[in-house]
């Protein structure tokens, strides 16, 4: 589904952001991309979603060489949830979803109200402008926007940010359901609980390089010291990135 070979990217002469990344993400896999701020996560995601060009190496997404992607076909098959819930605040949740869904073939589009029900969105706010929503409600609408076109590949950036614990559990359940449907998920997060519970494999990114890549279980196992109990993914994070969680 995603194949990255020797990926490099630089924002300027002395601002090398990525130093030769190599990884593959299989169909139906939830792949965690973890790392501290400024480690190159967002840059990698922007390259994978076709926003950033001018990189080095080879990147293939959905079987297409991303450098050559010109058609809208690529964008019809991906769904992206940004770190912040970007929405038209003058429009209601339904109007936002109807607007964004209108760019996809109608046969692929899910029913906005059903999606919002699934995300436990308060029905009373369906037709109220987004400006009146809490962050959690906005996050639910943003998630609905990412899922509205039944994407084959889902990019999620901090999906449980701004949600209360029950909301976070619900989101994890929905992501799991998407995987069961065969959707591939590329998850970028600082939330080690999400990564631990959801991801089949995780990659730790540090200073533009992949410091470790394996299943959460193996990584925790490898990092268990003789005297301690099984380490957490947070311990692994600190060990590989050299920094605590921001």
């Amino acid at each position: 589904m995603i194949e990255v070979k020797n990926l490099t990217f630089s924002y300027g002469k002395d601002k090398q952001a990525l130093h030769g990344l190599n990884f593959k993400v299989g169909k139906g896999e939830i792949f965690g991309f973890l790392g501290p701020n400024g480690s190159g996560k967002s840059t990698t995601q922007k390259i994978l979603t076709g926003i950033l060009k001018g990189y080095g190496g080879q990147v293939s997404v959905l079987g297409m060489d991303i450098a050559a992607v010109q058609s809208q076909e690529f964008f019809r098959q991906i769904g992206v949830l940004f770190e912040f819930p970007y929405l038209y605040t003058n429009l209601s949740a339904l109007d936002n979803l109807n607007y964004f869904s209108s760019f996809y073939p109608s046969e692929n589009v899910r029913d906005p109200e059903e999606l919002l029900d699934m995300l436990e969105f308060k029905r009373g706010f369906l037709k109220k402008p987004v400006a009146s929503y809490s962050k959690g409600m906005r996050q639910r609408v943003s998630m609905a926007r990412a899922l509205i076109s039944n994407p084959k590949l889902l990019f999620l950036d901090e999906p449980t940010s701004g949600l209360d614990p029950s909301g976070a559990v619900l989101f994890r359940k929905i992501i799991e359901e998407e995987r069961q449907k065969g959707t591939t998920v590329f998850l970028t997060t600082h939330n080690m609980v999400d990564a631990d519970l959801l991801c089949d494999r995780v990659a730790f990114l540090s200073n533009g390089q992949i410091a470790a890549l394996d299943t959460p279980r193996n990584l925790k196992e490898e990092n268990r010291s003789i005297h301690s109990q099984e380490s957490t993914l947070e311990d692994v994070f600190i060990r590989y990135t050299g920094r605590g969680l921001d």
């Binding site: 979603t49 991906i78 912040f84």
Partner: protein, 369 residues
């Protein structure tokens, strides 16, 4: 593609509605039209009131018999006062003029308005009110009055026997005024308000972060720009047509409408694209406001000064807005610009600004949240 474009158009229309763009445009239309109809076309200074203190009744009768032929208008009569104090009081506003015939040598009494030329004109006008009487009448008075001024010869020449001015062209003075002020208002509306309108809409989208979503959904970036441009262009053309028809009348308005719409379209596109680029390139609305101020003060002011006053600005021919302003005015005066160079330059400017807008949009889509 068509469906996608109309979806974007509908969304932009709703954004403009929520930003009260159409309300502002309608408000401007009403305000400009009311000003033109009720103020500007009848904006003509009243003739200077002339007061006369003539205790002996030497010249008053003769003066009041005069009906000047000023383009068919009857001049207001000279007003008699009973005392010198009353005369001084009546002439203390810097506008009215008093004639004092109580002494041996007649005198003009007035408070200076601050401009020598106008003061001479006022004096000459007062003298002219007694100028058409025969030699046995107040002519000696007139001479005496003008002699009491600093430059009687000048005043004498300045006092025409007939104050009517020749009209050039077929238009009445009122129609000329209407054409002129409508052209100016339209230019101002398109150059300033149109520029702000699109920028305000785009800043809203920037603040909401939704521009970044358009980078990862199947929508063409050109369509994103074109829908906004299309809507602003349509709105500006409707505004231009309405302003022209309301203020020039149906017959005159329709006669100049094609040329006016052509110039309005060019100006609208240029300003909308400039607004788009500035809104995308600048990080916040405060900086944009500062740029807008600079644009208004240093870029459009010389154009208005050169186009509307006698001020000679040698370099103004190199100012692109000046040519757009002249083209708009000429369109209103049935003399549309037909220069291929002008249209080629406009097309190049539109193309360049479009490329800049596209580049700015791509940068905004890549930006961090």
């Amino acid at each position: 593609m068509t469906g996608m474009f109309f979806t974007l158009l509908k969304k932009d229309f709703r954004l403009m509605l929520s930003a009260r763009f159409f309300l502002l445009a309608a408000g401007s239309l009403v305000l400009y039209s009311c000003y033109i109809h009720f103020v500007y076309v009848s904006l003509d200074d009243k003739m200077y009131p002339v007061y006369c203190y003539d205790p002996a009744g030497i010249g008053t009768q003769a003066i009041n018999s005069i009906t000047a032929q000023d383009s068919g208008r009857t001049l207001p009569p000279v007003i008699n006062v009973n005392t010198k104090e009353e005369l001084a009081d009546a002439c203390s506003d810097g506008y009215s003029i008093g004639i004092d015939l109580s002494e041996k040598a007649p005198r003009i009494r007035m408070v200076s308005c601050g401009i020598d030329t106008i003061d001479h004109l006022r004096a000459a006008y007062a003298a002219s009110r007694i100028s058409t009487i025969g030699a046995g009448g107040p002519a000696p008075l007139r001479k005496a009055l003008l002699d009491s001024e600093d430059s009687p010869a000048e005043a004498d020449q300045a006092a025409p026997s007939n104050t009517g001015a020749a009209l050039i062209g077929k238009d009445s003075k009122e129609m000329k005024n209407r054409r002129e002020i409508t052209a100016e208002f339209l230019f101002f509306e398109l150059a300033a308000v149109g520029f702000l309108g699109l920028a305000a809409m785009l800043f809203k989208e920037k603040d909401m972060g939704v521009i970044r979503i358009h980078a990862v959904i199947p929508v063409q970036r050109n369509a994103f720009i074109l829908s906004k441009l299309g809507l602003i262009l349509l709105s500006d053309l409707v505004f231009s047509a309405m302003l022209t028809l309301i203020n020039l009348g149906a017959a005159e308005g329709l006669a100049v409408l094609p040329a006016v719409l052509m110039q309005a379209g060019i100006l609208s596109l240029l300003m909308a694209l400039a607004g788009f680029f500035c809104a995308i390139a600048l990080p916040d609305f405060k900086q944009f406001s500062l740029l807008y101020l600079v644009l208004a003060v240093f870029i459009t002011t010389p154009v208005f000064l050169a186009g509307q006053t006698g001020l000679e600005i040698g370099w103004i021919k190199y100012h692109p807005m000046y040519h757009l302003f002249l083209a708009m005015k000429n369109a209103y005066f049935r003399n549309p610009n037909t220069s291929p160079v002008y249209y080629a330059a406009c097309a190049c400017a539109v193309a360049l600004l479009y490329l800049l807008a596209g580049w700015g949009l791509r940068c905004e889509m890549k930006r961090e949240g």
